[in-house]
Symmetry: C2
Subunit: 587 residues, 2 copies
């Protein structure tokens, strides 16, 4: 295995052996460790000293189910802290198959109009990957739905594509890195924290992989791996949320809309209520029924990446049976729906498609538009106005630049007080005043407000991994800590986070999960070991943030959540600061 370093100043590359200290680090564990080791915490995130690190997970490119994730690490231009964003895509196993443990983008080219692409393939004769550069300037300033087909046409064979859209090219704090899905769409985003702007600052428009002829990953103990894999598959296929034609496969992640709305935890009209009267119209069930009506049959969801057996990714169709977008996630239908007082699914789908086309994160976009609506730029509920604002972002008008800079900056520019961010990153679709544990995760994760960092929604709302009263702050620091540590390991394993539902509820699934990893690596990890592994990832990330000046005082929710009671429960966020501080202190 190698660390492949691409120097964008010199347009050169080198392969390094993986140092012993990184031997067991994959995915998020490796990207975070390398950013900690190599990036000065106080550097300008779009300057010469930042780096981007890509790494696939431990089991990625094996036959382990639902494990085609790649982590992207850097210093975030949005939060100023460390960032790991990940996506499910064929690009992940292709990277792993070429035995590139980490791909590092470094070096700082002239900040002009000129952009480059790289084509990474397996050099059979040399027995190692090789990198070619090509001029990609002609592909900039365009909808990524236009550029992807051109790249598929230009390069032979089964390639995978990593790219960045207009949002990244415009240096937005709201800009993701896009990967292909299974249908060659540019729809799979490492979306959060402005990672797209970092890639664009290196003037790298495409990272194209063709793993043809590559050896794939070694599995040290194949029988153990196979045993674990089988247990995982069984668990996934039997859990109500993850099984075929189960919750996720039928309704996608948007199955959560009605559930959270019922719980009074669906942030509505810029976090001024926890319940939206139009929620049902924007829910996964509505997506399913609308598709059924328009297509004349039931449409179940598809896999975003090879080897996924959960298959939660939907396509939303027009009345003429053409595709409107793929996919509408829970986070997206909320951020561009309830959060904006919008209940028109067609317009929400249009907005999702525009976010993908421009390279914007849908959560940050919806959070930003909510604050803009609060400021009176357009009224709540104005879906056509919202569509127009996303176009402003894509075009880079002055208003678009405010919005593209994210929710926090938009709040500053318009003098808004109700700004739902932590560490400069916009909050996802769970109201901390109605679901206290997720508020602790938002506050304390190293990532800025992020539900995926420690998804306490599982026990608080879904009854997965036990049950916990969402309105009570009791015991939630411990809960969030446990979820955050386990998650950091899952993010390093290469598995999609959605395996958490079956493995948390089904003991044999959890065993299988660990056996898979032990099988690949030859380790003897126990459950305690993987929690310790995850905790160590968090500690490294935390150390980076502290050196960047982001400390306990940044582990707080915005003031308004302690001052304004949220309907319908009329509760404020009442978790004491000491509980927030305990998350890391006692790790």
């Amino acid at each position: 295995m190698w660390i492949l370093r691409i120097d964008m100043k010199e347009l050169s590359y080198k392969l390094e052996d993986v140092p012993e200290r990184y031997r067991l680090l994959y995915g998020r564990a490796l990207t975070s460790q390398m950013i900690f080791d190599e990036v000065p915490p106080l550097c300008h995130a779009l300057g010469p000293n930042n780096k981007l690190v890509f790494s696939a997970g431990i089991v990625t490119s094996t036959s382990a189910p639902t494990s085609a994730r790649v982590s992207v690490g850097c210093k975030s231009p949005l939060t100023g802290g460390i960032k790991e964003a990940n996506a499910g895509t064929s690009w992940a196993p292709d990277l792993a198959s070429m035995r590139i443990r980490a791909l590092v983008i470094e070096g700082f080219p002239e900040q002009g109009e000129k952009y480059w692409g790289t084509f990474i393939s397996w050099d059979k004769d040399a027995g190692k990957p090789k990198v070619e550069f090509f001029d990609a300037t002609g592909y900039t300033g365009q909808d990524v739905y236009d550029t992807f087909p051109k790249i598929y046409e230009r390069f032979e064979g089964r390639i995978s594509i990593c790219s960045v859209g207009n949002a990244g090219e415009k240096s937005y704090g709201n800009s993701g890195i896009v990967f292909n899905d299974q249908a060659k769409r540019p729809s799979r985003y490492a979306g959060r924290g402005g990672v797209g702007a970092v890639l664009a600052s290196k003037r790298l428009k495409f990272i194209i992989l063709n793993e043809k002829g590559s050896p794939g990953v070694d599995i040290v103990d194949k029988p153990l791996f196979d045993e674990g894999r089988k247990k995982m598959i069984d668990a996934i296929r039997s859990h109500a949320i993850s099984k075929p034609k189960g919750g996720l496969n039928s309704y996608g992640t948007a199955v959560l809309v009605n559930i959270l709305n019922e719980a009074g935890g669906l942030p509505t009209r810029n976090f001024s209520s926890g319940r939206f009267e139009g929620a049902a119209k924007t829910a996964g069930e509505a997506i399913f029924e609308t598709n059924k009506e328009r297509m004349g049959k039931e449409i179940y969801n598809h896999a975003c990446s090879p080897g996924c057996i959960i298959q939660c990714s939907n396509t939303y169709y027009n009345t003429d049976k053409t595709e409107r977008t793929s996919c509408i996630e829970y986070e997206s239908t909320w951020s561009l729906g309830a959060n904006l007082g919008i209940d028109d699914l067609d317009d929400i789908a249009t907005m999702v498609q525009l976010c993908n086309a421009y390279g914007l994160d849908t959560i940050e976009t919806g959070g930003t538009l909510g604050v803009a609506m609060e400021a009176g730029v357009i009224p709540f509920g104005d879906s056509k106005g919202a569509i127009n604002l996303i176009h402003e972002m894509g075009k880079g008008t002055p208003l678009g630049r405010i919005l593209g800079s994210g929710t926090e900056t938009t709040g500053k520019a318009f003098g808004v007080r109700r700004v739902p961010t932590v560490k400069g990153q916009s909050m996802p679709a769970y109201e901390p005043r109605a679901v206290k544990g997720i508020g602790i995760t938002y506050a304390t994760t190293t990532m800025g407000a992020d539900h995926t960092a420690g998804y306490t929604i599982a026990p608080e709302i879904l009854g997965v991994s036990g049950k916990s009263d969402p309105l009570s702050p009791e015991g939630k620091a411990e809960l969030s800590r446990a979820f955050q540590a386990t998650t950091a390991f899952i993010d390093s394993s290469g598995h999609c986070l959605f395996i958490a539902f079956p493995i948390l509820d089904i003991a044999s699934g959890f065993e299988g999960f660990i056996q898979e990893c032990n099988g690949v690596l030859g380790t003897n990890w126990t459950a305690a070991d993987i929690v310790a592994y995850g905790a160590n990832v968090l500690k490294v990330e935390r150390a980076f943030n502290e050196a960047a000046g982001i400390k306990a005082e940044a582990d707080r929710l915005p003031e308004f959540m302690r001052l304004e009671p949220l309907p319908p429960h009329n509760q404020v966020f009442d978790v004491p600061d000491s509980a927030l501080d305990a998350v890391f202190k006692e790790m």
Copy 2:
């Protein structure tokens, strides 16, 4: 003496006795202590929990020369930390004369269009100040040069006015609080850190004082005070910088332009050079000569406030002998001149006038326009374009809102790397790479980049208080610390900072300075005592900032100053972090 609290939610007020622990605290010492005591460090700066505190200095409203300063304290919406901004104006002695030690604006009214004014006068019968409220909604959204005459007309007698302009009403991070000068102009600004937006968030448009009949301040030891006062006057009148027809009285603060340019420390074109080919055309000498030519005689400067014998404030005239603006400070002619590559004094004067009219800080405005020019919004040197951008700010267009949010936000919105800020506040007119000590002050002051916080320029450039090589980092942490502590005391004394020139060079002047204060208060302070007093102010401010999450990592200059050598000396900022950290650690 009283603390006068005005509650803007209830439109009520109360007078409290000054508590014993505040007995010796005045000016900056008192505003900072009260903000520390009463404002939650993590509150939203434009939210219900922030407060504004006004306090005049120890000797303000006595016959001590050049002492009509008032401090304004709050949590800053620009830096997120504590803020003290001060101004010289008749408003300061009027406040002190009514024995209002601190005026606190608190309570959070409805955030609508409605604004209020307060009229504070001396109630002879009751023997204390009284407060009346009036509807000021009709005065909003206007040029403060239009509103001030209306207020002077509306209220009888010799009033002083404190107000806020469009910039504050628009919640800009770049918004000052304006006071009248001696000619009733709205030209004296507590300019920095967005204090205007805080006042506007309280929906308070005017604080009008009429001290008629008020008792004035007590002087405990009148002979000692008089002795000190005489020494101060002699020192001021004999020092080359502060004497009548000396540097400041002839050329104003802009006398520094040629000096800093010669030293290679005049930041040019957004801090990309330390020397500007057009500097001389923008200097104090050019202002003097232009006025002489246009008015047909030599015009010396005037006092901004009662009792000032330095009289550094200029008026700049048009060819038809009408006034174009008052006053063009060094900071303003630099920020809107060299920093933008502009050498047209008439256009610079127009920009100064517009900043005053809209309520913008000229330093932050020039810093912001420099970054906008770097981003290509308009070219460097385009003075008409720059004037237009200031109008955009005043009007609150989307572009204007980006710019009005300040230099740091503008850098974010346009993805600029060369952003000359510390703690979110724009750097003043001294290049840290060419004058190392002032860089330490910028980095470490509690205020965000601020030259007035510890003006090491005195020994580094002007030969005041000894001489120190500006390019050497040696001993500069100690120098900055000493200047910062002394300055914090001067800012509490009520004296203008410009008394520092004579008192640092003339021993009897320094003695007189302390005697004045001891005379008023009945204290026995020595030179060591006032340094300790100042150091304590800084420690309180520092403690607030630390609790707001602003710690040692924020005491750094932007990365580009360590990476890019600055012409003509081709030096980077090479003060080690340990020296920066030593400023407070060893205080």
